[in-house]
Amino acid sequence: MIDVGTPGTATAVARVPLSKKRPQKRHIPVLATAALFGLMYLVGVVSYPGFSDTQILLNIFIDNAFLLVVAVGMTFVILTGGIDLSVGAVVALTTMISAVLLRENWPAGAVLPLVLLVGTLLGLAMGCIIHFFEVPPFIATLAGMFLARGLCFVISDASIPITNSTWTGIADVRIWFGGFRITISVVIALVVLLIGAFVLAYTRFGRNVYALGGNQQSAMLMGLPVARTRVAVYTISGFCSALGGVLVSFYMSSGNSLHAQGMELDAIAAVVIGGTVLAGGSGYVFGTVLGVLVLGVIQTLITYADLNSWWTRIFIGALLFAFILLQRVVNRRT
């Protein structure tokens, strides 16, 4: 196949290798997740009457819209080979700041951009620390996590209800179509998802994210803006966390320092189960959606089976383990 220097072979360039007929290696984890989701959904449909109701599927989106948004940001970070442990704490901080400011009768139109800005700036700061001071992402975002969670408790250690009419108004909107309903949060999550997918697939910035995850040294020597890209992914993750926090405050109608405990781990689990390689450089936002759906179906199944909700964790743990093993196996066959 590789036949260099012999005149006349140039015409064979466009020839498609045989391996093209099988799914490409990098698609295998995503296909496995899709198959798993299909299988679990089928198990639910067969075992429980009423599971086949489309609303059940939509409820998964309604109940996990915030996780979806946070996981999209996490996908950017993990694609560069990094990690962001601060997302859950930033979500909680966002709910707290929103609740407090709304209680003080700030207009919703001012609170919303402000909390989004706070999350974005936190992400920007962590990105700068990670890139310019060469602090490992794990450490820098762990510090960010403690900082954000700590700030929540400084604001208040009690739950603050949100009664602002604009806020609850948005939260209560139901969009109906053909007898099914979704929330504004789901629409927001889907928009974030589409933007994320477009940016990663069709912009130079998105491709730089993949290049950075593939080989940072190479990315630099190829003249790509490594610093800008690296700082940007943590900024995006900070923004997505804040937006996720807003969706949580819609969902819960309160600000609470204990909201979103361990959400960073759910987000990482969703990204990895969705086929993104932890070492970076390979993965898709749509894989992440499947990852979130898998987590959602597990939750639903466990509710239907009337099991203790901790079983969710056990299943997620087992799945995570299985998918990391799958990544190893796929990569070793190179």
């Binding site: 590789i2 260099v4 360039v13 069709y202 912009t203 130079r204 993949y210 190479s218 990315a219």
Partner: protein, 504 residues
């Protein structure tokens, strides 16, 4: 031919070192120009000046007759100078097309046009006669093809001057031919190619012209036909008379006398694919075996296989006449072997630790953590070796980082000597240290072998190898080509002829 690039009187200093001094280099369109020299000759500094990684301190660079000054790799690239390094600097997770085009993708309203990316990349590889599917991930191709894709990217970005830094070091013979075919094609298109390699046979196959550097200075420029291979090696190594004192040769035992008993270590057909061709080598008690050869000829690889730092994939190693399964450096150490690495900073010394801690390290490792050396015993041993090796300053609590190169080397030696090894492997112990310390280390090696220790001595300096060794193993292009007894008939010319190959 047109002179596309001229460098005149180039000088570059680093703190305490003159890296380049008064070097001229001329590159013409449509030639392959080999840049040669031993390690430390200044090749990589010259390349880094050319690619804008460093700025010049003296001299002038002209590109197409216009004086230029680069302050960053981006500028050099924009001016038409591209570099492809030894390790492929592309992203294995991206497609071939994307690797060629990333950062320069054709866009419409900010959206990358993938069809245009594939079209452009496909046309480029077709023009270079590479039969590559541009939509496949880069990692699905061999290193050789990846290297050619890196070259394709480089000439696509800017196609005047192409610098290839050790491009063939990880390629096999047929892959080298593929690369050369591509190089010839680019040359015929008028690209000026700088080729840096330590494989002299390859230089003679592909290059039109040779520039030799030595010790930061220019030795000269020749057309390939005017400089036979043996003469080239002489130019590279330089037959400078050393100011070193002659070691006394009194009563050094002959090889025949030393080799009467069974060998301490015998390697039989030991080799490792891609690293070194299988070789045989025996080392006896009290014997110094020198390894000679150019940089990259496989000297260090031989040592690493014997010590178990790399795993051999063929052959057997016998110690005291019994076959030993080398599982790693631990096995070698339990059999009384010690290895002073050539990279004393990265693979040897722990710079933050003190002289004492560094010296004790290997002995403590061999005893295991459950049997710590008492502080008194440590102090005893350390002060003994600081005195014996004359480590200066004689302060065991000083961090090793603050010592000079020669003293650091002695600390490393001391570390292995207190384990009382039967075979000491030392890789380039005298590189980068001053003349005085050099002589002391050479003396020490001679004394140790007189005391019955076997030594495997690796050095780029032939003179040193000749002076110390009883037996000299010569390596060329990752193959042990000859083992010479170091008698009066052997001199630098004889060894150089073997290193140059072909015509001994």
């Amino acid at each position: 031919m047109d002179e596309i690039l001229t460098m005149r009187g180039i000088g570059k200093r680093f703190p305490g070192v003159v890296a380049l001094d008064g070097v001229d280099f001329t590159l013409r369109a449509g030639e392959v120009h080999a840049l040669l020299g031993e390690n430390g000759a200044g090749k990589s500094t010259l390349i880094k000046l050319l690619t804008g990684v460093y700025d010049i301190d003296a001299g002038e660079i002209r590109l197409d007759g216009v004086p230029v000054r680069f302050t960053g790799p981006g500028q050099a690239q924009a001016a038409g100078i591209s570099t492809v390094y030894q390790e492929v600097n592309l992203c294995p997770n991206l497609s071939v097309a994307e690797n060629i085009m990333i950062g320069r993708e054709p866009r419409r309203f900010g959206k990358i046009s993938w069809s245009k990316v594939r079209q452009h990349a496909g046309a480029l590889v077709a023009r270079l006669d590479l039969s590559v599917d541009v939509t496949a991930p880069l990692s699905s191709y061999s290193i050789a093809v990846q290297q050619m894709i890196a070259i394709a990217r480089a000439v696509d970005v800017s196609a005047k001057v192409l610098i290839l830094d050790e491009p063939t070091s990880s390629l096999d013979a047929s892959e080298v031919q593929q690369l050369f075919a591509l190089m010839r094609r680019l040359r015929d298109d008028g690209v000026a190619i700088v080729f840096v390699s330590h494989f002299l046979d390859q230089v003679y196959e592909i290059a039109d012209r040779i520039t030799v550097l030595r010790n930061g200075g220019l030795v000269g420029e020749w057309a390939v036909a005017d400089l036979p291979q043996l003469a080239l090696v002489e130019k590279m190594i330089g037959k400078e008379l050393s100011a070193l004192e002659r070691l006394e040769e009194q009563g050094r035992p002959s090889v025949a006398a030393l080799e009467r008993g069974a060998p301490l270590v015998a390697a039989d057909g030991v080799g490792r694919a891609g690293s070194i061709t299988p070789f045989d080598l025996t080392i006896h008690k009290g014997e110094v075996v020198g390894l000679a050869g150019l940089l990259g000829s496989g000297r260090t690889e031989v040592a690493r296989l014997l010590f178990g730092a790399d795993r051999a994939d063929s052959g057997t190693i016998q110690i005291d006449g019994k076959p030993v399964a080398m599982r790693g450096p631990g096995t070698a150490m339990t059999h009384g072997m010690a290895f002073c690495s050539e990279n004393r900073r990265t693979e040897g010394l722990v710079e933050e630790l003190t002289v004492r801690e560094n010296i004790i390290l290997a002995l403590q490792a061999r005893r295991g953590w459950s049997r710590p050396l008492s502080r008194r015993r440590q102090d005893e041993l350390v002060s003994k070796y600081i005195k014996a090796l004359d480590i200066r300053p004689a302060d065991p609590d000083r961090p090793v980082r603050n010592l000079s190169g020669g003293n650091q080397q002695k600390v490393l030696l001391a570390r292995w000597l207190i384990t009382e090894p039967r075979l000491l492997i030392i890789d380039e112990p005298t590189r980068g240290i001053d003349v005085g310390a050099k002589t002391e280390i050479q003396k020490l090696v001679a004394e140790l072998s007189d005391g019955g220790m076997a030594v495997l001595f690796i050095s780029a300096e032939l003179e040193e190898v000749l002076r110390l060794s009883h037996k000299i193993a010569v390596l060329r292009e990752r193959r042990l080509v000859e083992v010479l007894e170091n008698d009066d008939a052997v001199d630098q010319d004889r060894i150089m002829a073997t290193i140059a190959g072909g015509n001994p």
